[in-house]
Symmetry: C2
Subunit: 203 residues, 2 copies
Amino acid sequence: MSFSPLLQQLITALRCLPGVGPKSAQRMALHLLERERESARHLANALHEAVEKIGECQICHTLSETPVCDICADDTRDKQVMCVLESPVDLIAIEQTGGFRGVYFVLKGHLSPIDGIGPDDLGIGHLLERVVSEGIKELILATNPNVEGEATAHFIAAQINDADVRVSRIAHGVPVGGELEFVDGGTLAHALAGRRTLQRDIK
Amino acid sequence: MSFSPLLQQLITALRCLPGVGPKSAQRMALHLLERERESARHLANALHEAVEKIGECQICHTLSETPVCDICADDTRDKQVMCVLESPVDLIAIEQTGGFRGVYFVLKGHLSPIDGIGPDDLGIGHLLERVVSEGIKELILATNPNVEGEATAHFIAAQINDADVRVSRIAHGVPVGGELEFVDGGTLAHALAGRRTLQRDIK
Ligand SMILES: [Zn+2]
Ligand SMILES: [Zn+2]
């Protein structure tokens, strides 16, 4: 005896959500069908719309419903200061501190040779192109404060050969080994303010 | 600064899942859009299909894609022994023990005067009707072993006035205050085997 085919299909599909194991997928499916059918219908539509209509910003690569996101389209932002992040969720976290008025570049991850993720997969070529073409004066590397994030930051720093571009790393106010997305706004604002210039590995 | 409208809509919609707060809804939405678009599309379809096509069995009220569920339609089951449950998930748990060959009645919850949930909302009238019309010899009350489940079991027991119907309650092998759905199969099988006849409150 097991669940009916459609119920089993729903339970399996819910497993794609991060942190959802077999037991919680089962609870979620039954909860929706027993008590939240209207919400389940709404969730199905929201998923469908999001997947079909949310793409990424051509300029900074964050998630965006328009070809150019609101931040890149905002003329009041300081376009000479660029903050490099691993994920759109980190962009939101930085924006919520209210302490940054520059622009962004979202890498979508970090270098991971073991998984075959190299500079091209992260769009580092496009990043370097923007640094030159937009006359960036400061590049703040705000990848995660863990081994992979540090390695990615140092790799990018090593590519910048223009002495007029200040390359900085957010200060270690953020907990080492943690993930930016879980850091509170105050710590994050502090880490941004205390950023330091990185020593160039390649001069 | 906040998320784009469609992304915000998805994050809000994910909150309908049990145990999902604002932070995990955000992580889920971004995870799906950044890395699991195909799975998200699949989940949208699974939700849609489940909501449209899964109804309930006319006889036992468990979730079913057909008017009569597989168990009620199975002629090899002992139709004179009926097990009363609070939820379809409990039915699956009992079936998985392999120790029960009778039929079921799913109440979908428990009596809760404070929430305005009375006997009619649980279909107790239909249950009593089945007890008579199907010549049930034993009614096993397997509502949750907590205060509400006990009250519901005693309410039902008090309605059965036919001395030929044995009314039993699953044994307290199940942890008091717990929920059936989280009990392991062995304990559940033991609890079923050790069921005792309930004293009648009304004779
Ligand atoms: Zn942008
Ligand atoms: Zn049935």
